[in-house]
Amino acid sequence: MYKILRYSFYDLIRSKWCYIYFGFYFILSSSLLFLNNSLAKSIITLMNVIVVLTPLIGSIFGAMYYYSSKEFVELLLAQPIKRNTVFLGQYIGLSLSLSVSLLLGLSIPFIVYGMLISPEITNFISVIIIGVLLTFIFTAISYYIALSNDDNIKGIGIAILFWLFMAVIYDGIFLICLLTLKEYPLENFSLFSILINPIDLSRILIILKLDISALLGYTGAVFQGFFGRKMGILIIGSVLMLWTIIPIIMINIKSKRKDF
């Protein structure tokens, strides 16, 4: 698995898409720092962007990479190698290379700006962790979608749709539910709905860091207990981990059964 991982990692890290991705984050974070003139504010804006963008890019790349390397995979499968090592190696190589571009693109401008000696470093690290986790989650999901659909247009379409659903439509449905059911106690319901959407979860983490006064203020005791600072971050972290592990298991099962 390590060899395949290394191969796809180096393959991707040399591809132009990775450079474009890296360049985008590099320009984004340096321009944010330049315009805001403050680390704290830049991190806030960055969080907003990352929560939406990394899942999108993960989704597109995951599906695209699977389809473009399909022939290579088929060739590999003819060799005496376990199936899950091939697919897992590819998936991890892909997510790692995306995460590396994200990490470098974001941290170089921030480090140059003097992030290492500022108190904002914990916030910045949590941005990076969230970004990396979201990349891993959405790459895995789109990789799984691509694995289940042989038609590449359909596969990429579904992957993007899935992103759209999680990033926008889900919140819309959630809001409509809240508005129609407003006569009932909704605390547990809204907690649950947030827990099952990784993008919402990451967003809540931002609110925990930034707008805590509003969040803790208007939502009763259940929320206060749940999102009390450290506990909330811990729970969010573990749920995001679950969100990465489950799609990987699904990739595993799918790859074992798939007929090439």
Partner: protein, 414 residues
């Protein structure tokens, strides 16, 4: 207030001429404060030497001056500390510890009943039930006191400085920590409350009702469970105070209920769940206040008329304004809103496009509080944007037609 001071100074200068001094210490002839008070004549001075005195319910029934040397009076939960029943009493430099709890009586470190021209200063209260309790008293000064409670529930705790039916009282430079209400005023008029710090109280930092013509300035209210509540009062001035970190579902930086003809100026509201909550209050001027990083900067419920909001800074609040009611008789003009994205072509410092401070999302959160969990989500940004372009739900009549381009006020850092 000047006339008050001169009267007090005159009183004390007369004291100096005619009065004698009684010294109380643990090894002196007089080792009891209450015996010393019994022996003293009017306008005498009692000096309490350093040491610990185990006494309680000490009655002061004549005009007298009691000065300690940071002497400790340990009540040992037997009752209250001093009970002032006379005019012209001066108390200073004492430590009064461990006041008895009671569910039927209001027992305090210092109680003054129908007293006139008193001064209570430099007194430290440790673990009091109530600390200073005034009833029907006039023309007094309470300053430089430290009140430290060790309370952890509202039922078993009393207020720091409690005034009932009093007039012309000055409350200055006191520090009140961990009581029920920091400063509580009921039926108090012409009081001035300056430079106090009230923090970590279990209920309100400052709480007053039916108290007209009072002035509150330069006070700091931090981390109080319910912030500051001001009710049923007229002609008050609240200026240059700081309201910070008052968090909770019913916590306010400043709650105004049935307040008429007030001025609220130069205050600083930072990280409160609600900066100012206003209910049924009319003719209030809000000028030069700073609202920074609050959940709701201002929340206006029904029945508020002729309020004027000008020259305030709204900086990075989750919601700048929430408004209930169909009509608007209040003026929002010339404020700085950090959420404003308009332009200023003629460079006069005033934005060319009006700013509408109420977002659709704040309207939704008002009806379903749980929706706050969707704050900052892409979907909410989308509906906010579409509402901004074509307002349907949010009231069109609430807008700042002359929003400022740059922040107006400077944040004073202590």
């Amino acid at each position: 207030m000047k006339s008050l001071l001169t009267t007090i100074i005159c009183l004390f200068s007369i004291n100096i001429i005619y009065s004698s001094v009684i010294i109380v210490c643990n090894k002196c002839d007089i080792s009891d404060i209450s015996i010393a008070i019994d022996k003293a004549k009017n306008h005498d001075t009692i000096i309490i030497k350093k040491g610990t005195y185990y006494e309680f319910d000490i009655e002061i029934n004549k005009p007298i001056k009691i000065i300690g040397e940071n002497s400790i009076i340990d009540v040992e939960f037997n009752g209250g500390g001093f009970n002032i029943k006379s005019d012209s009493v001066y108390l200073s430099n004492l430590k009064i510890n461990n006041i008895k709890r009671s569910y039927t009586k209001d027992i305090a470190g210092i109680v003054a009943y129908k007293s006139d021209h008193f001064v209570i200063e430099n007194i430290e209260f440790n673990n009091p039930f109530f600390a200073i309790f005034l009833q029907k008293s006039r023309n007094g000064i309470i300053r430089n006191n430290i009140i430290k409670g060790v309370n952890n529930d509202v039922l078993n705790s009393g207020n720091g400085i409690h005034l009932w039916d009093s007039k012309n009282i000055e409350i200055e430079n006191n520090k009140i920590i961990n009581m029920r209400d920091g400063i509580y005023l009921e039926f108090v008029s012409a009081a001035s409350i300056n430079n106090n710090i009230s923090e970590k109280n279990l209920r309100y930092g400052l709480h007053f009702m039916f108290s007209n013509e009072n002035k509150y300035s330069n006070n700091i209210f931090i981390n109080n469970a319910a912030g500051v509540a001001v009710m049923f009062s007229k002609n008050i001035i609240i200026h240059s105070n700081r309201f910070e970190n008052n968090w909770g579902s019913s916590s306010y930086g400043l709650l105004l209920k049935e307040i008429y003809d007030a001025k609220i100026q130069n205050n600083y509201f930072y990280q409160n769940t609600i900066g100012i909550a206003v209910e049924g209050s009319n003719r209030i001027n809000y000028n030069h206040n700073i609202f920074k990083q609050n959940g709701w900067a201002t929340k206006i419920s029904g029945g508020c008329y002729e309020n004027i909001f000008t020259d305030n800074d709204y900086l990075n609040n989750t919601f700048d304004l929430s408004y209930k009611g169909r009509e608007n008789d209040n003026v929002f003009s010339g404020n700085y809103w950090s959420n404003y994205v308009g332009y200023d072509l003629n460079h006069d410092g005033i934005g060319d496009v009006a700013f509408m401070p109420i977002k659709l999302f704040s309207y939704i959160v008002n009806s379903v509080p749980e929706a706050i969990t969707l704050h900052r989500s892409l979907f909410v940004e989308l509906i906010n944007f579409s509402e901004k372009v074509a307002p349907i739900f949010t009231p069109k009549y609430i807008m700042d037609k002359e929003p400022k381009i740059k922040p107006i006020n400077y944040v004073i850092n202590y």
